[in-house]
Point group: C2
Chain length 461, copies 2
């Protein structure tokens, strides 16, 4: 697959995302608008192929750690292995829940676009343990004009300058630059209100040197398999409905300790960035209890001289999320850090689901879960960069992008516990009094505890 993807570079582009798959998607809109040979809106996608298992016969798992292979192939291999592992682990847990012996099954849909680009979307719906679980992989490629390049990375402003090409305009070296992107995304909504929603995304981008320049001459900077720029992005986070501090702590501990083996600077910076990214501004609360989030993870050579500095940028030029590495990295150690997130998320998250999947719950608990999931939908539709820009991308596979949306969500006006601005609302006061009469006190207390934590993100380790 990676080979095929490389071979068809510049032929077109496709996109699939899931909460957090940020820049993979946005650039494509501009790319569509600008490349004359792009007929995305006219050419429908090909019919998908459907299976209940993920076929990795075309993959060589050894490629992940084979430093002689290009990173595009290594990362594509890795994300597909992660997808397989995750789908099999979720399915395994779902199978244990079925007394009938016919548990809900993942649907594995492989899709290709005529113009290039492919992906595998895996979805399990209406399970006994999992209400909805989506695991997507996509490989996308094409040509990016300058406006799209500027949107690609979290460091919007700096990327073109760093690339050193004059892209587009009157005295341009080139009209557009070839790019490659691959990633895996997952959002998992368990049925039990005490089992948290989980999310992970890992992605890799390359901007490549064009073979020829606009004036027709061979590009002296062109080298096969040597990108002009590359970076990783990703992260994982936890969204409980009820705060179980030991789960939040366990999740953060697992990620922190696996990242500490890579670089002690990673976890603290990426934990902060995660809290910033998943902040629902209009609600003044976080989507969940966080985890890690990172973007623009690349070699320090871009920063010209500051060898220990890895440029990280959260879109606000805040020093909080700048990462001063404790050690010097190369592409292999950075890739290992990305793998640490993927490899840790799967057992850490599923251990928590395993712990909570059989807890007793009542209709109060389900009501609150649906209300919290309304907030999840709000975050993903309003703020998530991957979702937002995916929706604006003609030809994107919408059902894969929107897989992250919860199976059920509710909205209530001025809920006594989670209503925004409830402190100034007489309606919220009235609802609160009614609720104190009708609800078990421990339910009110548990909801309040969760809400307080969302409004004041904590240090878990």
């Amino acid at each position: 697959m990676a080979g095929a993807a490389r071979a068809s570079l510049n032929r077109g582009l496709a996109v699939v995302g899931l909460g957090g798959a940020a820049a993979v998607t946005f650039m494509l809109q501009n790319a569509y608008n600008s490349s004359a040979d792009c007929t995305a809106e006219n050419a429908p996608n090909l019919k998908t192929t459907l299976s209940s298992t993920i076929n990795i016969e075309d993959l060589d798992p050894a490629a992940v750690s084979d430093t002689s292979k290009p990173m595009s192939e290594r990362m594509t291999t890795y994300v597909r292995l992660v997808q397989k592992k995750l789908v099999e682990s979720i399915q395994g847990l779902e199978n244990t829940g079925s007394a009938s012996g016919s548990p809900a099954q993942f649907l594995v849909e492989s899709w290709k676009r005529k113009e290039g680009g492919e992906g595998i979307s895996c979805v399990l719906q209406d399970g006994i343990i999992f209400e909805k679980a989506g695991v997507n992989v996509s490989v996308v490629y094409g040509n990016l004009p300058s406006a799209a390049i500027r949107q690609m990375s979290a460091d919007h402003d700096g990327i073109l300058q760093k690339l050193g090409y004059n892209v587009g305009g009157d005295d341009a070296d080139v009209d557009a630059l070839p790019f490659f992107a691959t990633g895996v995304s997952t959002v998992i909504h368990p049925l039990n209100p005490y089992a948290p929603t989980g999310h992970m995304n890992l992605r890799y981008f390359e901007i490549r040197h064009p073979r020829t320049l606009k004036n027709g001459q061979v590009n002296p900077r062109y080298t096969k398999n040597e990108p002009a720029a590359w970076w990783f992005g990703g992260g994982c986070d936890l969204t409980p409905n009820y705060l179980i501090p030991e789960d939040a702590r366990y999740f953060h501990e697992q990620i922190k300790s696996s990242l500490e083996m890579q670089d002690p600077a990673f976890y603290p910076a990426w934990k902060k960035w995660c809290d910033k990214y998943f902040w629902i501004v209009h609600r003044k609360e976080s989507r969940g209890v966080g985890g890690v989030f990172f973007d623009d993870l690349t070699l320090p050579s871009w920063s010209k001289g500051k060898k220990s500095f890895i440029p990280l940028y959260n879109g606000e030029k805040s020093v909080d999320t700048q990462l001063v590495g404790a050690k010097q990295h190369d592409e292999n150690t950075l890739f290992e850090a990305v793998q640490a997130v993927g490899n840790t998320f799967i057992p850490a998250y599923l251990t928590i689901v395993q712990r909570r999947k059989d807890l007793l719950f009542n209709h109060f608990n389900k009501d609150w879960q649906r209300l919290r999931r309304g907030r999840y939908a709000e975050f993903n539709l309003v703020y998530d960069r991957g979702t937002k820009f995916g929706l604006q991308t003609p030809g994107a596979r919408m059902e894969s992008i929107l897989m992250s949306l919860p199976p059920q969500a509710t909205w209530k006006y001025m809920d006594a516990i989670s209503g925004t601005g409830r402190e100034q609302s007489e309606a919220a006061t009235k609802f609160s009094i009614e609720q104190d009469r009708a609800f078990p006190p421990e339910e009110v207390e548990a909801r309040r505890k969760m809400q307080a934590t969302l409004e004041n993100p904590q240090q878990w380790v």
Copy 2:
């Protein structure tokens, strides 16, 4: 209220919106960022006052048609009367559904902001006829810098030029211009899946001449009660879950015939604009069966010489939505057209609810309703200008803006009937076969008929 609002012009601003309340909200963010005396983020709103009825003792209903009064006062009076009428009509219908004699009640919350601006938010939740009904009124005012003025009207590009002031910058006449906005918004979600969701919004904007210019001199253009620019915006539309053509036809007929009395050019242009505005781009379907939508409705004097031309602009400079009026208007006849929409919506919509509220329904019908309401949430969170920019506005009353969100929503991956891209999906084919086995054929047929209409908006009259 209108008097108080005028008196406190320039003291600050507040905002409340509902699906469709477009430009009322966005400008405020920039206004906040730019006015030095504005401390919105630090000053919390005052505690609201709560009631179950709307008090209009402070209003003189005769002001609506009193041409000697400023339009700001006439429109504010009108929107408050519309709110009262709508709330009482909905409550009346809800009361008929209650066998117990204790029907769900509207909560009427009046709020003010310290810095100026006020509103009344009315919400009924968990009724027998209405799952959720919200009716908002707000009056907002303040000072707008040039960037915000440009966002105010649908004709983003033209408005500053038309105003004739040089706002902001080195050789500016003024740093900002005073504005005034008032409007009513409603979204009504009935419980019965055969009763459609209804939406209406009516709004009025003024940009006013500042008393003094930046150089300290008296502004020669300043005249009390004579705005620099003013316009109306609004519309109403219907979102059924099941297509009942006679309902869609009846709704459109009622609006069309009431607008024809004003100007035969209104309905055809505003119907087209409505279909454009409520198009869910990423789904390739409409939110519902439409109605009318308009913005920038003002006097033709702006168009300098073309007396019969009323500048209307949908943001894409499409000629489709330009309105060539069949007759010459003044502010009174335009205001009458706005009132025609408001006065027609209430009985037209509630007649349809009355017809459908007691139809038998089953769990298939409720499931489909929740799925359709997921799309409603998608539109409002992703596209609706009023909602989108309201969410970005510090100090906005979020629970009033988000009142439009459905009480319950679901999302399914690749639904056999409404899944986006289902034609290319083997998963959708599989779901379709399963559905044909498990669902009553008339349910499948009814869902398909609705979906086909959403994907191909029709002429209803």
